[in-house]
Symmetry: C5
Subunit: 326 residues, 5 copies
């Protein structure tokens, strides 16, 4: 679906029809030098993509990639057009889960085509933000590219923070005295961290390239801004790596905890068994059928035997308590 | 066995005898500039290979490699002839197993020789596909090389997806409450992933070389297509690496699960034992032979003792239930 | 809060108002060539930062970073101004914990702005130290940069030594015969080591750059001093890496210890049980109701039975002691 | 011991005395351009090495290395003479063990000196092979170098295959239901793999150098052959790495198996115990001394009690069987 | 303490006062071109270092390092003077421990200053050795540098061999049937290996630099000798890495062994328990109070019951023996 389509002339928006117009994007708008057109699409049909590809003369391999939502982040150059694939990430609080989407961008000299798959980053909001900053928009398509990358990476940082909180919770649970089965929680977190890593890691190279001004459209000033994005990416990736290592360590500690609890249980059980087994022996003794067993004829033989059982058990109980077995 | 043999003149097929013709491949067909001959062989006998080697003047070391089906993927250049070894992979659903085959390709200026070992990719189908796209075939032998690499790597991606499903199943099994011995399943999957990795990893370098146009026959346009193959390879290799890490984490979780179950079993057993041992103590007490044991002479002494046993056991049962031991 | 502000003329301090003066830093002091102004700020308000940014013409991206206390160490250059982010670390003995703060420095040709977040290194003390060494201060802003880096890295080394002591303690605890749950201690230490690593590792590159004289303001002599700082950083990072590996090994040993203790406990328990169960069998035997059991009619049958029980238990006890089960 | 010594003139052998001649190697044979002398020594005495070193003007450091059989594979150049150290490996079936030897080669413009330590590769056979291929020998000393490297690396591949079989056996043993202590077998295999790695890895660099024609005596044609050797080495090293990873995974699976078996045993034992303990309780009940216990006076009270015991045990047995505990 | 001080003129020693002379080293001895002075110091006081630093114009940062005995190996150049820090290692048989010391060397055009901390390498012996080889000493200060590096690295190799023996012992202990707690032994060895690694690894870079003739005072001939030292270092580092990996594998095997033994013990204990519990049941049965129990009235009822108990136990014993539980 074509979501928005506008011409930017000296940083000002010139609307090009509304979202319902099916002919949107089927014609290239002639622009003055420095002007550019920005078309935003969401979950496009093959037809729509095709039409836009013809309009802007996009390379078929890139269009094929843009139509598929399971790409890895990458930057490629087809002639004068840059093709950037970004993974979007966001954290859904209700489910404690990281979700992923994808943005594909075609950046030419006088146009930007953004293709979004799935939910996540609200590109419309990014566009409205930019439209309020005419000075930035004047820098042309690269400014749009920067604005979107910046937005996406900011979201990565939020995801990183949410995961840090999750890891803190796991940590607390592992070291709490309660018996918790943390292994599945750790597994899920590790899986999410792997997801984040797959979005973040491959993006570092493109951002580094932009920061070094690999494209002639990147001015030194713009490069500074991309360097900032690259730096944030680096920060996210270090946070993520650190969380991964912490989780592994927490998992090991979890294993150690299970063993220690097993041992404690075994000792408790054994101590408990002793409290029953020893009186059973005493009962067995006074159940013997010898002719001459003086205790059997005592008036208080029976209470004495019961007291003996209780006394021995109490003594054992005290001893086990003292030595930490109970 | 020589499977097919044809001359391609301006992208059109010119048949050169049928598959039964034993003389096939024993003579080089003179071609116009831009034409090329494509011979396909399957599990060749040393004789066949020898004949073809003499016809196309192939290097003996490459021919030796082509006759052996346990090569690693590689690209080598002998004079003007490129020699590429590819591992083919496919997933057999019935056995949940990855199988491997091998394709060796000799690519000269005016010929392609494909040598296939084992089952897998249907090169005949690839050839028929290509023959319908005369425009592609016009690019000559490098187009054939690209088409086969593209086909093989597409199959890798399918294998990757199948393995992802297998890993999802293992994951579910590990975290299901049922007692499952997942370690052998994980082992088999790890072994298959290693197999895939051995096919995928060494192929990245040759594809990268083609993408950078290392051979003078690779036009910038062709290089773009090889870049696409290289990108898919990269994707497969990331999927595979990710699965490997997930499996390791799942295995660790499996270990933790076993320990937790061991602990639960031990506690259940102990609780069960208590339900028998405590009544035994009571029975032992009333089996004692003291002269003065008032309960023994009660009319309802016996039912009282039985009730006492049942009552104590019921109490213990309730207590164990509440504290999670049963 | 602006903490201090002074002009350094030929290595001598020329005060520029006191700390309460809210106009501090709002004007640039004209200096002779070679002179420079040094403003120290602590946990600045956005306003203060803004004022100073305007005064010294600092880049907005760097100012944004300087206002945030969760940066990673890095060196960036905006025009003529270097921007260095340092993590400060210090060890709090009472809590056996490593705490972190942050210093941001802007170093221009004739000014230094230091922005400190959190506690830690006392920059005022560093400044006073430097003011006593006019010869050093004559080297200008780079001398201030060096002095602070040197101070921060010295503190890293102290933290490294404190962690070495902590690891020694953990090691002792792991291998002591006492039952200690070392896994949480090891986890905390690993977490702190990761913290230190995140401060130390990214700083190596900037220091290496200074040591190689990447900036035209760095004389070969100054570079030698930065090389010394880089060497100390290297040393800290090796100490830290080594501690991390030692902790992992100690954790593994801890796991092995738990298993061994579990085994010892199980054997002790079993031996203990045997001392009760065997006499119970004897009691059971003499509790049988056969008509003809000669022992039952012996005058000393009962003491004999008791002695038999004690004797058998004593024999078992001796045997278990000898074979190491008790 | 000097094993063989010959002059090769246009690829033809010209014998230089027999093996008993103690003066062998003490004189350099004048040769036509293109001719070369090849001396083979086995476990040389210091004297022999010394004599040969003087004759061929070998560098003392290389001679020192050649006299010692604990070198690591390496290629060095002393003036015009190449010095190559190779580890030889072979698999001894009877002991399922990998054994190692060493070959040192000095290759000058008109001589080859091969020094062999230990058993293993039969250099005499290699020499006789080569002598039948005069065309190869005509290429001079580099052909000898190639022939020996090729032979040694072929043997590596055989060792790799033997180890693959061993790993398959271990794998089968780990996953067999039998209780096997596979950890020592895995340890020994890991140790052997490390041994192989230490022979293979350092040799890759010299072979790569030869393949790139680093020496002026290596023609492009010869380089092709060394590239083949380098490729085989690469294959062996991948096989070895793969086996190492598989063994680690198999070991982990072995650990999981032990835990699972421990659990199964514990459950079997507990079920078995229940079959004894519950009848004991019943016996205890009918051993009580109450005045009024109607069953005691039944004619068939005793058989009833026995049947009750058997019945309860049978019920438990069936229940345990059904729930998988027995 | 200044240990020795001499001038070397054409490779011959010219003594410069004896060791008690407190003025030693306070004056630079004028030398002919090619001559050099060598001062050896041991655990110097700050004063001594200071005096020597002034005499030979040593850089204050290097002098500071030389006074501290906790440096990491490194090579630095201050003007014309090389500053090399070496860790010395030696193995103390009595304690099965690796000890460390440190040598700092200042190498100028006409002087060598060696500063030794701790015990270890006897530099006096090295000096006397060298003094007997005037030809070597003629090469000047670089010859002294080489001689000491060679000596230190030889000692590393001896340490490596001693550690190999220790690892062999651990291995034997792990796989012996005896119950040994090898984890602490493995821990200590790992710690020592880390120590050795910290001495060996950072030294490789300086030796490589010398081997490539990075300094104009290194002739190609001298470089060959440093290449030999670098090669030995490489060998030591491979030995050390290999031992580390072996120890990790041995530790894993140790863990597996503990689990297996735990299982064996549990089975032994259970079998032992069965031998007592089953006769107890029999005794319980004949302790029941039924009116009609024919066995009770048999003349040989009691011996029959005892025989039954023994018989059942013997049967169980045989069965457990057969099935490997006892």
């Amino acid at each position: 679906m074509i979501v928005d389509n506008a011409l930017y002339h000296r940083g000002k928006r010139v609307p090009l029809g509304d979202g319902d117009d099916q002919s949107l994007g089927s014609a290239r708008v002639p622009c003055d030098p420095g002007d550019f057109q920005w078309i935003g699409i969401h979950d496009p049909s093959p037809d729509e993509l095709d039409r836009i590809a013809r309009t802007f003369d996009l390379h078929p391999l890139a269009v094929e990639d843009a139509g598929d939502s399971h790409q890895r982040p990458k930057l490629e150059r087809y002639g004068d057009t840059l093709f950037l694939v970004l993974k979007t990430l966001w954290y859904v609080d209700e489910e404690d889960a990281v979700e992923t989407g994808e943005i594909n961008m075609f950046v030419g000299h006088d146009f930007v085509v953004t293709v979004r798959h799935g939910q996540g980053i609200d590109l419309g909001a990014s566009r409205r933000d930019l439209e309020h900053r005419a000075k930035v928009l004047e820098h042309g398509p690269m400014a749009v590219l920067y604005a979107i990358c910046d937005r996406v990476v900011d979201e990565y940082e939020r995801v990183g923070e949410a995961l840090e909180e999750d890891v803190d919770e796991v940590e607390e649970s592992v070291f709490s005295p309660a018996r918790t089965d943390d292994s599945s929680r750790i597994y899920v977190l590790k899986r999410e961290i792997a997801e984040v890593r797959r979005a973040v890691m491959p993006l570092r190279e493109p951002m580094r390239k932009f920061a070094m001004g690999v494209d002639e459209r990147i001015t030194p000033e713009t490069a500074t801004y991309f360097r900032d994005v690259a730096d944030h990416l680096q920060r996210v990736s270090e946070v993520i790596d650190n969380l991964d290592v912490l989780l592994s360590t927490a998992f090991d500690a979890h294993l150690a905890r299970i063993s220690v609890q097993q041992n404690e249980d075994m000792r408790k059980i054994s101590a408990g068994a002793a409290l029953v087994v020893v009186p059973t022996l005493i009962a067995g003794i006074y159940g013997m059928n010898f002719d001459h067993m003086p205790e059997l004829h005592w008036a208080f033989g029976y209470p004495f035997a019961l007291l003996l059982m209780v006394g021995v058990s109490a003594g054992l109980f005290a001893w086990f308590k003292k030595s930490g077995w109970l």
